[in-house]
Subunit: 245 residues, 2 copies
C-alpha cells in the first residue's frame, strides 16, 4: 500500500504531548481525526518520536498508509481547514513503502529557547529567566557535550532503555543579542527529558550557581542525583528529523 | 525635573493601539496605570509615535518625567510585576531633560511578517498568505522605494499632514527559507498605514496579480486609487526608533 510522509509544525501548549493516551488530547489524536475526516477511513499515523506535554515542533515527521494517490496541495489545504489552528501539516511526499518515520530517523535536532528579558512576543515558547546568564560559561558546557557520551545524568530513569549513550553531532549556545539565548542540539537519539535537563543544568552554570567543572563531572561521571533542574516544556521545539537520503 | 527614556516590547493584539483614546484599552493607558501604581503619582508618558490597533512593538520608546532617582533594575522589575503579560519594559535610562521621544526620533524601523505556509508558532504575528509569493518580484519593488519619494499612494488621507514625502534608508525583502517572508523598512517618517499599504501592494506583485511596473507607477506617480490592499495589523512590528547620539 502506498506510504506517505507528512511534516508537521505545532504549538504543544494545549496538548498532552504527541502520543495518543487514554485521557487527555494529543497531537496524534487531532491529526488522526483530521485525516480520517478527509480521507473517510481510519488512518493510523506513526510519529518519528514522542514530544512531551507542552513541547512544540517545527518539523515533526509522521508516516501513514493510504490506498490511493494523494495530491500534495489538496491534502495540505484540507488539513489546514480541518486541523485546529495550533497544528499544521506543511509538507507531504510519497515515500518507499518500507520507510519508517521512527526507525529510519538517523538524527533529531531540538532548540531550547530562553528569554533573559521580559518579551511578550517570545514568552509563549521560551523559558523566562530574567537574570543575567553568562553565555560564555554555557557555551563551554555545550561544547563538551559533543561526541558520544553517557547521558544518564540528564534523563528520567527508564527501565525499558538498555543504555544511555547518545552521539551528539551539534551542541551550541546562540545568543541573539536581543534578550534571547538558544541552545541547539542534534543527536542520533534523545533520552526522556534530556534536552530540558541539559538546559536546566547549563542555566545553573550560566547563573553562576554551579561551576563548569561540576557540569563536566555530570557528563563524564554520570550521577543523576547531582543534576540541575529540568527546564520547562514550553521552551523546547523539535526542529527537524533527519533521514538517510 | 529628571527625564527618563523607557523602551517597550508589546503584543498589540488585545489593544486599540498605542495612544490613549476615549473608550478602548490602549498600551499607553496600561503603562501610565502601572507607572502611577509603582511611583505613587500620575506619570504621563510621551511615545515616539502611535502604533495602530493590533500592531506590535519590540522597541517602542517613551519618555516621562519623575522628580527623583529611579533605579533601573528595580523599576523594570516592578513594571514586569505590574504590567499585563503582553506589555513589557526592558530598558530604562536617564536622559537629558530636553530629550523628546517623538520629536527627537530621526528614524523608525518596522518589520512586516508574512507566513507562506501554515505555521502555528508564527501565525499570531504574521499575515497568513498560503500561496506561492515570488520574493524576486517583491524585492524589485522594495528596492525602488529606497531614497526620498512621495508616498501619497500608500497612506490614508490625512488633512493634518502637509506633505507625504519620506526618506527611506532601508527597504528589503528577507526570505527565511522556511515559509516566512519579512519586509523591513527604515525611514525618517511614516504615514498612516504606509508599511501595511506597501506590503499589501507588494504581495499583489509577489502573487502575480499586479506588475512590478504598476508598483513603480504608484511610487513615481502617486495615485491613491490604484493601490493594493492594506495588509492586516497583526503582521506589523515596530522594531526600533533611532535618535541622534
Amino acid at each position: 500500500m502506498p506510504r506517505y510522509k507528512l511534516t508537521l509544525e505545532y504549538e504543544g501548549t494545549h496538548y498532552a504531548g504527541w502520543q495518543t493516551q487514554p485521557t487527555d488530547p494529543t497531537i496524534q489524536d487531532a491529526l488522526e481525526k483530521a485525516l480520517a475526516q478527509i480521507l473517510r477511513k481510519p488512518i493510523p499515523v506513526v510519529g518519528s518520536g514522542r514530544t512531551d506535554s507542552g513541547v512544540h515542533a517545527e518539523g515533526q515527521v509522521v508516516h501513514f498508509d493510504f490506498d490511493g494517490e494523494l495530491d500534495k496541495k489538496s491534502l495540505l489545504k484540507s488539513l489546514w481547514g480541518v486541523l485546529p489552528k495550533d497544528i499544521a501539516a506543511w509538507a507531504l511526499e510519497k515515500v518507499d513503502e518500507h520507510f519508517h518515520a521512527r526507525f529510519d530517523g538517523i538524527a533529531r535536532q531540538y532548540r531550547y529557547q530562553i528569554v533573559t528579558r521580559p518579551s511578550p512576543l517570545r514568552r509563549r515558547w521560551a523559558w523566562e529567566r530574567y537574570f543575567e546568564l553568562d553565555p560564555g560559561r554555557m557555551r563551554e558546557c555545550a561544547e563538551m557535550i559533543k561526541g558520544t557520551h553517557d547521558f544518564e545524568s540528564f534523563c528520567k530513569h527508564n527501565p525499558d532503555v538498555n543504555h544511555t549513550n547518545c552521539e551528539v553531532s551539534l551542541s551550541e549556545i546562540v545568543s541573539t543579542g536581543d534578550g534571547m539565548l538558544i541552545y541547539r542540539i542534534k543527536a542520533n537519539r534523545f533520552l526522556h527529558h534530556m534536552v530540558r535537563s541539559l538546559t536546566g543544568t547549563m542555566v545553573d552554570v550560566g547563573l553562576g550557581k554551579r561551576s563548569v567543572d561540576s557540569f563536566k563531572s555530570l557528563v563524564f561521571k554520570p550521577d543523576r542525583k547531582s543534576v540541575g533542574p529540568t527546564a520547562p516544556a514550553k521552551g523546547l521545539i523539535l526542529e527537524k528529523v533527519f533521514y538517510k537520503k
